[in-house]
């Protein structure tokens, strides 16, 4: 069980010119544990979807063959389990036990066997609560554990994990890695897509690298693959272990204060907090989930009114009282989810929006847009719909939109979250240059590498409310 063979496999989504994945020849034997790698756009997720039988025949064009235990994946669905990135959209039921039972009910498992299998699956992933635990009360990592249990309860011969930790903070990611390590038996074949290689390595014994243009670039034991291809993969954005990024130290100390928070609180979300952000400084805000980091970012960004205490921008007072257009010239906010901030249908319009709202003349708007497109490597995407961008492109665009109105202070919420190494380095370099030009930067982050590379000071929030 769980054996797969691909011969010249390719898939092109309906309406797309380029093949998402092409020319893949592979054979994975029963019980193997494979890390599937490749630069962004190499077709890893498409390949997993094909293996999971989730590409309906009418949704695109295929070539070559895929077989799981000699069957078309669409007919081998019962043999395959898949866990996706986003825990929120994988849970179906409001009670944890019911959620694990959901798949068993669908497969027609006799009622008497369901609950023992639910308990067994919950135990295998180390789920620490009872069956009645509301799924809404779980952290992201716990929800993802539950999603894994829901898949394992079906006893798949082939388990597919599509960046299972990408949406999780480091603590949640650790929970998932532990759960996978604990739950996997010898009878299960594993294929995991994960660009944070160090996190996946303990789980795998084979690495397969997809070539973006088609075919397989490398295939073998992790040591050999990384010795031969590690440098190039790191260059292309894969987080290969042993390729550290040099820190970007500030050349001069912080300058004048840009914004001061004094005993600022928000009811149920942020305990009294005091901090000052200066010109030419990168301040990292860290701390556990629920400590109010994002709330603090929204307060500093002039987007929320504090319940008590003051936010004092220098000069000009409380930023939450300013009109939105004025705000964008002083403080730029970059949200964790770039898509929240997109309001037009073209990348270029997205960049032009801010300068237009503050009444810049058309010629200047054009200059700003061209400059940002070029600086953030978005020229080829000027006419694209922002919602169709990849994660890295969307992140670059959301930062660029905040820069379009040239604010002195930039507030970013998890800017490097889920980014590949290449985008990560571009962001760090961009922020370092802004800092060296005298901008103040606040970044809410869980990313220790980011803090080490860039932060001049760190403000840690503790869970207090």
């Amino acid at each position: 069980m769980g054996e797969l063979v691909l011969r010249g496999f390719g898939w092109r989504h309906a309406g797309r010119r380029a093949w998402a994945v092409r020319g893949v020849d592979l054979r994975v034997a029963h019980g193997e544990r494979v890390l599937l790698l490749g630069p962004s756009g190499a077709g890893k997720s498409t390949l997993l979807a094909a293996l999971a039988g989730l590409l309906p025949e009418d949704s695109g064009e295929s070539e070559g063959t895929v077989e799981i235990d000699g069957l078309d994946p669409r007919k081998a669905r019962e043999r395959v389990g898949i866990v996706f990135q986003d825990p929120q959209t994988q849970l179906v039921m409001s009670r944890s036990g019911d959620d694990v039972a959901f798949g068993l009910e669908n497969r027609g498992v006799p009622a008497g066997e369901i609950w023992p299998r639910v308990d067994e699956a919950l135990d295998r992933v180390g789920f620490g609560y009872g069956r009645d635990r509301p799924t809404a009360a779980l952290s992201g990592g716990e929800q993802q554990r539950l999603a894994l249990a829901g898949t394992l309860a079906l006893r798949p011969g082939l388990l597919l994990l599509d960046e299972p930790t990408a949406n999780l903070d480091p603590a949640g990611a650790a929970l998932i890695r532990a759960a996978v390590a604990r739950a996997l038996g010898d009878d299960t074949t594993l294929i995991i897509v994960e660009h944070r290689v160090a996190e996946a390595l303990p789980l795998v014994d084979r690495v397969i690298v997809l070539e973006p243009g088609g075919g397989v670039r490398a295939d073998g034991p992790p040591d050999e693959v990384f010795a031969a291809h590690g440098d190039r993969l790191a260059e292309e954005g894969v987080w290969v272990p042993g390729h550290p990024v040099a820190p970007r130290r500030a050349v001069s100390g912080p300058g004048a204060p840009l914004v001061r928070a004094e005993a600022v609180t928000l009811r149920n979300r942020l305990a009294p907090t005091r901090l000052t952000v200066h010109e030419g400084e990168v301040l990292a805000v860290t701390g556990p989930n629920g400590a109010g980091k994002s709330t603090l970012a929204l307060l500093l960004g002039g987007l929320l009114k504090p319940t008590s205490g003051t936010i004092d921008a220098v000069p000009g007072g409380a930023p939450h009282r300013w009109r939105a257009a004025e705000l964008t010239t002083r403080i730029g906010s970059v949200f964790q989810d770039p898509e929240h901030q997109f309001v037009t249908h073209r990348v270029a319009d997205e960049l032009a929006l801010g300068p237009r709202r503050i009444g810049r003349p058309a010629a200047e708007v054009g200059r700003v847009v061209d400059d940002l497109l070029q600086r953030l490597r978005l020229e080829k995407l000027a006419g694209a719909n922002p919602y169709t961008l990849s994660g890295g492109e969307a992140r670059r665009l959301s930062v660029a939109t905040a820069l379009a109105t040239a604010p002195r202070l930039l507030v970013l919420d998890e800017p490097t979250f889920g980014q590949d190494r290449r985008t990560w380095i571009e962001l760090v370099d961009l922020l370092a240059r802004l800092r060296d030009n005298g901008h103040g930067i606040v970044a809410v982050t869980h990313d220790d590498d980011f803090v080490a590379a860039l932060a001049g000071s760190v403000h840690r929030l503790e869970r207090a409310v």
Binding site: L54, T89, G103, E105, I114, W115, L303, F335, R357
Partner: protein, 267 residues
Amino acid sequence: MTLTLPTFEASTAPLARRNPVAKLAAALLFSAPLIATLDPLTPTIALAVELAVLPLFGMRYGTLFRRAWPLVLAAGGIVITLVLFAAERTGATVATLGPFAVTTGVLVTALGMVLRVFAIALPGIIVFATTDPTDLADALVQNVRAPARFAIGALAAFRLVPLLGEEWQMLSLARRARGIDAGRNPVAKLRLFVSTAFALLVGALRRGGRLAVAMDARGFDAGTPRTYARRQTFGRADAALMAGAMLVSAAALTTSVLVGLFRPIIG
């Protein structure tokens, strides 16, 4: 603005335990006949019954009030509307507010309508407050043969509803961060509202799509007959609840007819 779905603790109260479909049907059978009359007596009897059986649903009066308070607004609206616009101003004048004579006739009509609103709405509020949505979906599939694809699908979508509240706040704040606000201009406000709502809808559809794929990946579209981990049964007590609801409602109407207060809504 954060929406939270109420959490349900398995109640052992005799009526709360009844089959969800039976409870829902009983609420309908009880409320529907009350629509027939405009007199104040029928809804008064119905309300008395509803409040009397509340403990049998294991629900506190305070909880009911918290859930029903939007009805108070509706009631206030009814009174104001009638004071201003009532065509028949019969009876003695109680007070004069400028050009409006507030008469006993107006007040009795207003009272009747307010009582009706409460009497008709409360059964639904009580039933939904004491019914776990999962149980309701299970009962719909198992006891009335509703398609699982519909009932379980709706249940899963329902679970995403609280996310919409957070999403709305983030989208609104994100628009301000992009330099978009409406100030005091009502047209700009409406446009901002529409564009935020559209973004919310797009996001909800994408999430819904991802959820649907995840559900199918766990065999929701497998086509094999589903089994049920949680059994919902429909027994005699459930049938009795439905019959009882219908009888009590009919009795309230009959009383009103016998006393001579019955005012049919038609005619």
